[in-house]
Symmetry: C2
Subunit: 402 residues, 2 copies
Amino acid sequence: MLIVQKFGGSSVADAKRIRNVAGIIAETFLEGNDVVVVLSAQGDTTDDLLAKAAEINPAPSKRELDMLLTTGEQQSIALMAMCLEGMGLPVVSLTAWQIGLRTDADYGAARIRRIATERLKRELDKKRIVLVAGFQGITRFDDYTTLGRGGSDTTAVALAAVLHADRCQIFTDVEGVYTADPRKVPGARKLEEVTYDEMLELASMGAQVLMNRSVQMAKRYGVELEVLSSLVRAPGTKVKEVPSSMEEMKITGIAKDEHTARLTVVRVADKPGSAFKVMNAVSKAGVTVDMIIQATGRDGENDISFVVPEDQAEQARDMLMERKKAIGFDHVSIDKDIAKVSVIGAGMMSSAGISSLVFEALNDEHINIQMISTSEIKISCVIDAASADRAVAAIHRKFFEQ
Amino acid sequence: MLIVQKFGGSSVADAKRIRNVAGIIAETFLEGNDVVVVLSAQGDTTDDLLAKAAEINPAPSKRELDMLLTTGEQQSIALMAMCLEGMGLPVVSLTAWQIGLRTDADYGAARIRRIATERLKRELDKKRIVLVAGFQGITRFDDYTTLGRGGSDTTAVALAAVLHADRCQIFTDVEGVYTADPRKVPGARKLEEVTYDEMLELASMGAQVLMNRSVQMAKRYGVELEVLSSLVRAPGTKVKEVPSSMEEMKITGIAKDEHTARLTVVRVADKPGSAFKVMNAVSKAGVTVDMIIQATGRDGENDISFVVPEDQAEQARDMLMERKKAIGFDHVSIDKDIAKVSVIGAGMMSSAGISSLVFEALNDEHINIQMISTSEIKISCVIDAASADRAVAAIHRKFFEQ
């Protein structure tokens, strides 16, 4: 089997942790597998480098920042190679340019264009463990780029895709994907399998296990992911197209997102195109809109409410105020004291009873639902922030603990 | 003018020093010159990385060590680029692979094979300051190498050679090349110019301003060097083929080397080939021999003495002892309590009086000369270590202070 493994920065933070990870890699290799390993920069390396840069120039170019930051991952792969060498194992470390990992020139948030597999395959043919620096790439003009947040996951998934790996294991500091946040919901349990779409919904709801971008890439190329812990040796959660246990479980997990705000545009003129003008202004501001509710008032005027990421609320309001005259409304109010609680599950739409169970759970707790949206695999409710944890626990009990 | 500038690790050790160096670079650029700058890793970076490696594997492969170490210079060029950007100057930083600096595969001590000048010239044509990571190269199989001690100087000289630069300035923590060590000899004065050969002799005598390797390369390609301080703005010392002041000054400088030992092979059988066998054994041990003296005794037996680097003395003795029977001698003695004092000057052999002045200076001080060797541009005397500083001062007075 060809297995791609990815270890994050905290997993390789010091010599002791590097040895621990080397043990996992060695075990996989000695079981007879071909192993490609993607590593992030050690612990706080990236932050330390950013601080050094800030001391010299508070606003450096992204090109030079990427030139600086890519050294972190290069150090990680060299140190890990030395550790595996010390265990007598054949190993080689490779940076992005050595494996021809080309990206666009969007420094700091580059997208992978292609990966030349020649060098990788040559090293695997030599029966070497191949260590690849994550997070980095090179442009077609041979300049260094970084892939942005979750970049090393993306590197791992992309490598698994081009090498047609049998498995892509993302090692992290949690043991897998849970039905709810295990730190908050004592009854939360680890899922054996989830679909890509469920994982996408969980990720976007703040379950910080995998970035959406790498899940999307895994889905597109059919890469089977496994999320597992680098500290506890136990099976993790598999992310794949059709989980074998789909029929048994109607919902996969419950997540909450507190970094969200509700904007209300009050008394929008009830003319054709008003709602369009509002949403157009928000989209022009580059703001991602989630749910929209239009409440028709008695006097021919509407309130339009929608949910946006918390840090984009002011941006959206400013753009709306700029166009106040053209659109025609009274004022804009922002409520950041809300949370979005979502129930996620691939088999959900087919079971009509799910949403009523959600409402029942919230009703039992006297939690008021402000907004609701549903999709193929998700029901989301906006509630007041103070009730969020209670809501998650109540829904979890309803679905998983009865 | 196209000027190549090189700054060592201590010159870029922190944000303050980076700003200082950026000032020098900016000044050179704003005078209308094309500027290529070679940087070393910051201060203790390389030592810190070596310590990290040692914690994980006390004997890592040189390939992975080079993979680790090359990150230091990459960080330096990125940080310097940010500093120059902050001053509003056009700048780009480039690593060895970006400028196609190819070396052999002798990791840790690689030799430069060739440098592709396309990217460098393209960036210079765009009127950008070009920052190049020193000390590093890549093999023809795209692996990272480092150039060994004094590697960044070598990078600078090589770039000056392929770009046909008008000048190659090596910035360091001394103000130039002196007639003697200015910390020891108060009357020592800075030389305006020296020849490559004089510089080679001075360098090999422990005047740690420039490594021999970069001087040799500068000589081969006719690159005019200038050694100067990054802290004191003053003209330094030019190193070039024929100094204009050659006629005026007979000797260039006085240097001492205390890291030296004298081996004496006592009572070597007076047979044809004995001396050859002795020297052959030493050379087989990989030891560099400097002066040799053969003293013929009364009874048909010889003592053979020679000078070797201090840290190779035991090695040479061990190899001799292994072949004791084949060579035929009584025993080997080692004397590390010696120093080599040398007088260097290109115009020396033409002035017969120089050696007699040296002897006179030492005689005045009652310093006994144990061994003497002369070359085209150097007279070296082996004396006891305790008299070394006094000897240098006495010779310096004789030539420079009368």
